[in-house]
C-alpha cells in the first residue's frame, strides 16, 4: 500500500506540472476516470456554482486548445499544503484535502500578487505502483479573478 508521502508528492507534482504548463505530464498523473471540477459558492445568489467540469478527455481537449487563444501570459504559481489524507484500504483510495494558494506574477516587472485561495479535494487511486488522481474538485474561496485565466488551477 502506498503511503502518505506518495500521496502528498502526487498533489505537489500536479501543482508543479501545471505551473510549468506541462499538460501532458499533468494528465499522466490522472487515471482514465479522472474528473476535474472547479466550484465556488456565491452568497449573492445563494448557490453553489460549478465553474468548470471536465472528464479526462475534456481536459485533454481544453488544454490542447488553450495555446490557440489569446490569454494572459502571466505565470501562476500554485502552492498546496496537504492537510489530511484519509486512506480507504478496501477501495484502494485516499481522500485528500489540501489548501491551495495561487499567485500570479506579472511578466512586466515581476510583481507577484495573490490570485486565488481555496482547497483541492482529491480522490486518489492507490491500486498501482504509484498513486493517480481520480477526481479533483478545486473549491475556490476567491470569486473575484479579475480578467480570469484560461489554465485551470
Amino acid at each position: 500500500m502506498l503511503d502518505r508521502t506518495a500521496v502528498e508528492e502526487l498533489v505537489y507534482q500536479s501543482c508543479l506540472l501545471l505551473d510549468e504548463k506541462d499538460f501532458k505530464a499533468y494528465l499522466d498523473l490522472c487515471s482514465e476516470q479522472f474528473r476535474y471540477t472547479i466550484t465556488a459558492h456565491s452568497p449573492e445568489i445563494r448557490k453553489d456554482m460549478i465553474w468548470l467540469d471536465h472528464d479526462k478527455a475534456g481536459m485533454q481537449t481544453l488544454l490542447t486548445q488553450l495555446p490557440r487563444h489569446n490569454s494572459d501570459h502571466s505565470p501562476l504559481t500554485r502552492h498546496a499544503n496537504v492537510y489530511t489524507v484519509n486512506f480507504d484500504q478496501a477501495q484502494k483510495q485516499a481522500q485528500v484535502v489540501s489548501v491551495l494558494q495561487v499567485f500570479k506574477t506579472d511578466l512586466d516587472g515581476g510583481a507577484t500578487v495573490l490570485f486565488a485561495v481555496g482547497k483541492y479535494l482529491d480522490t486518489v487511486t492507490l491500486n498501482g505502483d504509484k498513486p493517480t488522481l481520480a477526481k479533483r474538485v478545486v473549491k475556490l474561496d476567491t470569486r473575484m479573478l479579475g480578467i480570469g485565466y484560461h489554465i485551470p488551477f
Binding site: I38, A40, S42, P43, E44, I45, R46, K47, M49, I50, W51, L52, D53, G58, T61, L62, T64, Q65, R68, H69, N70, S71, D72, R143, M144, L145, G146, I147, G148, Y149, H150, P152
Partner: protein, 402 residues
C-alpha cells in the same frame, strides 16, 4: 508612414460621428458627470427576482450613480428599493449581500425599518426628540423599482423618470418572446477591470473583434451568413445585434448542445445592448446578463449572471452550466479574451498616455462588423451629457478633412 506629434493630434479623416475623443474614457470630471446625467437618470438592472424569492429577502446593490441600495421583497411580495443608508447618522443598514430581514435594523443605534421603508422604531424616541421628530420623519429614501424583461429588478434613482417600458421602447421586442417564462440565476461572478465602462459596452456592441477570439474564428466567421446580421438602433441608445444560428461543430469540445432554449433555433444567438451599460446575450442554451458598475474613469466592476429556466430538470441545468462555462465562465474561452482586450485598452488609454482618438468608422451596411452600434451609443451619450463625444470640451478642433 508613421505620424509625428502634430499628425497624431489631428482629428481622423472621418465624419465626427465616426470617432470619439479618448478623454471621454479617462477624465474624472466627465465620469462624475456621467454618474449624474446618465446613471442617475436611466433605468438599471440591480438583480434578478430569483435572488430574492421569499418575503423579506433582500439583496444589496451598489448603484452605478453612486447610491448604495437595498432591494427587498415586502411581505406583500412587492419588490421595492431603498438607499442602504440610515437616515439617522448615515450608517450602512445592511452589510451582507443577501439575507432575510423582517425588520431592517441599523446596528449603530438600533433604528428599525420595515420592508416598505417605514421607520418602525426609534430607540428612546420620546426622551431624545420629545415631539420635535418622530418615526414618520425618518423613513428610508425609496427608489423607483420595476420587475420585468426576464424577471430582472430594475431601479431608477430619478423620481421623475419615464417608465421602464418607455425607456426600453421596442429594443427588447426580438428577445421578449424567449424570456417571458420564469428564469433563474445559476451563475454569478464579478470582474473588476482597469478600464472605462464604455469600453466594455463597446466590446459587446461590435463583432469586429471576432479576430480576438479563436472560438469565433472557427465557429462564426467561416460560416455563410455570419456577416449578414444587422445591427438595429433604438431610442435611448439601445442596440440589437441581429440573431443567427452558430454552427459549433468546428470547435472541438462544443459539439454536444442538445437542450437549446425554448423557441430559439439550435445554435441561435440574440444580443441586445441597453444604454448605458447592460447586455442581454441569449446564445444557444444560456442567457448571459452583463451589468456594469463603473468605479472610476478607468475602473469598472462587471457583474456576470448566467440564467436558465426555473423549470429546468437537473440534467438540463447541468447542460446549461456546461455550455455557459465553456464560453463565458471565469475559466471560459471567450470571456477571458474579451476582458484581456478591454484591459489592454484601459492600459493604453490611462490619463496622460496621449491616446487621442478612438475610431468607430466602419460602415458595412449596418451589419455586425459595422461600428454603427457604437455610433448609436455615443449619439445618445452626447445627448445626455450635453457634450459631443468627438469634442467633449467644445474645442472645435477638427483638423483633418473628413
Amino acid at each position: 508612414m508613421a505620424k509625428n506629434a502634430v499628425q497624431w493630434e489631428q482629428t481622423p479623416k472621418l465624419p465626427p460621428s465616426h470617432y470619439v475623443d479618448s478623454r471621454i474614457y479617462t477624465d474624472n470630471q466627465l465620469f462624475q458627470e456621467e454618474r449624474e446625467k446618465v446613471f442617475n437618470k436611466c433605468w438599471y438592472i440591480a438583480c434578478h427576482e430569483s435572488e430574492i424569492p421569499n418575503a423579506c429577502d433582500y439583496r444589496t446593490f451598489q448603484h452605478p450613480g453612486g447610491a448604495p441600495l437595498i432591494i427587498v421583497r415586502g411581505e406583500d411580495m412587492q419588490v421595492r428599493s431603498f438607499y442602504n443608508i440610515c437616515p439617522h447618522r448615515g450608517n450602512t443598514l445592511l452589510y451582507d449581500p443577501v439575507g432575510n430581514a423582517k425588520r431592517i435594523t441599523c446596528i449603530f443605534h438600533a433604528w428599525s425599518f420595515d420592508a416598505q421603508g417605514n421607520c418602525v422604531d426609534i430607540t428612546r424616541e420620546e426622551q431624545g426628540y420629545q415631539k420635535r421628530f418622530c418615526k414618520a420623519d425618518a423613513a428610508l429614501r425609496e427608489v423607483k423599482t420595476e420587475v420585468g424583461y426576464g424577471g430582472f429588478v430594475w431601479v431608477n434613482t430619478d423620481d421623475s423618470s419615464e417608465s421602464l417600458k418607455d425607456y426600453i421602447g421596442a429594443a427588447m421586442s426580438e428577445l421578449e418572446p424567449y424570456i417571458n417564462m420564469p428564469l433563474e440565476v445559476f451563475h454569478y461572478h464579478r470582474a473588476i477591470v482597469d478600464t472605462n465602462f464604455k469600453l466594455w459596452h463597446d466590446t459587446n456592441s461590435e463583432f469586429y473583434h471576432d479576430y480576438m477570439h479563436y472560438f469565433n474564428r472557427v465557429t462564426g466567421m467561416m460560416q455563410p451568413g455570419y456577416f449578414d446580421r444587422k445591427c438595429v438602433g433604438y431610442d435611448n441608445g439601445h442596440v440589437l445585434v441581429g440573431s443567427m444560428e452558430i454552427k459549433y461543430d468546428a470547435y472541438e469540445g462544443s459539439k454536444q448542445r442538445g437542450i437549446g432554449w425554448p423557441g430559439l433555433a439550435q445554435g441561435g444567438w440574440i444580443l441586445i445592448d441597453l444604454f448605458p451599460g447592460m447586455t442581454y446575450n441569449l446564445r444557444t442554451s444560456v442567457l448571459r446578463m452583463d451589468t456594469m458598475i463603473p468605479l472610476g474613469p478607468n475602473k469598472v466592476m462587471i457583474e456576470y449572471r448566467g440564467m436558465g429556466l426555473k423549470s429546468d430538470t437537473p440534467e438540463e441545468r447541468a447542460q446549461r452550466i456546461f455550455d455557459h462555462n465553456t464560453i463565458w465562465g471565469p475559466f471560459g474561452r471567450n470571456l477571458h479574451e474579451d476582458l484581456l482586450g478591454v484591459q489592454g485598452q484601459g492600459r493604453a488609454m490611462r490619463e496622460n498616455t496621449d491616446s487621442r482618438w478612438v475610431l468607430h468608422g466602419r460602415e458595412e451596411n449596418s451589419t455586425i462588423h459595422d461600428e454603427i452600434g457604437m455610433r448609436h451609443y455615443y449619439a445618445e451619450w452626447s445627448r445626455r451629457m450635453g457634450r459631443k463625444a468627438f469634442d467633449p470640451y467644445g474645442e472645435k478642433r477638427v483638423t483633418a478633412a473628413a
